[in-house]
Symmetry: C2
């Protein structure tokens, strides 16, 4: 396992900080204290100061953080300035939902094209993104430098599709298949999206209210 | 803000424990040590022991946890035995993806019906779930006891639809709209699903590999 300088817990709080800072900016706020940010996020201000201390000195005692400077610093830490290139593989319901509604550019991701097996979908364009035939995937990946793949294919072909991706130099997979696609110890980065995690957290809090 | 006995961080690790235990059970494993569970999850064994200590004594020193007993205990803590009833509101791409591919029952959720405005969708059935007209939503909620709503409507109608839900006794909303649907201080539980959070974490780890 690689050693990362910043803990995974901190990394996973950063997108929430980013969203909150973006909202503050839209509201015209220019500065925010760690206490204020903590109140908005339900996180203790000492944890926030500790998280943000990884990225240099933004806060000034009694004066708080500059909203835009902190937002820019966090987006840089999250690699958003790299403009990673991506393909979306599998344009069924979830793939199409991402194509039509998800703002890849806002995450610093340059979505290049989609791939699907269905002749009804191949050749169509969603949000300016063309869907190519899955048969072209292999060839496309060898001819283009693509960093990341969004994997939305059916479970049955998840592993075989992931094989094509990794064989062709894809370094990171955003995995919506609910399948373990990579052998343990692989160097490929995989971020599994498990919808159930958040539903079960909601279920917990709902059951708590019933017990009150 | 309500006081919950178990920290939110712990709650959000439990679904991951559950998934891992389920996988172990499928592999025929009957016992697992906190160290073994930690290795599988990339979490320290002391944190695991601390997390699980909230739910009674399952572990036996040098003997580990019973896989099924621990799985059952965690699923109970997560409220999965309550069989909460749910409706899905908005059957566009993301709504349809959830209807067709997401296993609500496996999360202990009893999905009753879906609602949509499109005449092409109303009356169709996906995975045994009938889609009703959005015009029936108000009436349906007053006539049926529904605990939870899955909100997948377009951004423009997110707040107004959430109003209908909460006015009619919905206590929890699983929110896919990327919009803040509830005023601060509301008693309604909202779990916001932000796809960008996991993509940005992946982007961070990808940018780390490039800097190596």
């Amino acid at each position: 396992m690689r050693y990362y300088k910043i803990s995974d817990n901190t990394i996973r709080r950063l997108p929430r900080y980013l969203r909150t800072l973006e909202k503050l900016r839209e509201q015209g706020e220019t500065r925010i204290s760690s206490y204020g940010l903590g109140q908005l996020l339900g996180i203790g201000s000492s944890r926030i100061r500790q998280d943000l201390s990884h990225f240099g000195t933004f806060g000034v005692q009694g004066y708080g953080y500059s909203v835009t400077a902190l937002r820019d610093a966090i987006s840089k830490v999250l690699g958003m300035d790299h403009k990673f290139s991506a393909v979306l593989v599998g344009c069924g319901n979830i793939g199409k939902a991402l194509l039509c509604n998800f703002d890849f550019a806002a995450c610093g991701i340059n979505l290049m094209t989609g791939f699907d097996v269905s002749s009804e979908v191949v050749g169509t364009t969603h949000n300016g993104i063309e869907i190519k035939s899955m048969e072209e995937l292999d060839c496309y990946l060898t001819e283009n430098h693509i960093d990341l793949a969004v994997l939305c294919v059916p479970k049955e072909v998840a592993v075989s599709t992931a094989d094509i991706l990794t064989r062709n130099g894809i370094k990171a997979i955003w995995n919506f298949t609910n399948i373990d696609i990579i052998e343990p110890g692989s160097q490929i980065l995989v971020e599994n999206v498990h919808f159930s995690d958040s539903l079960l957290a909601l279920s917990y809090y709902l059951s708590e209210t019933i017990m009150d």
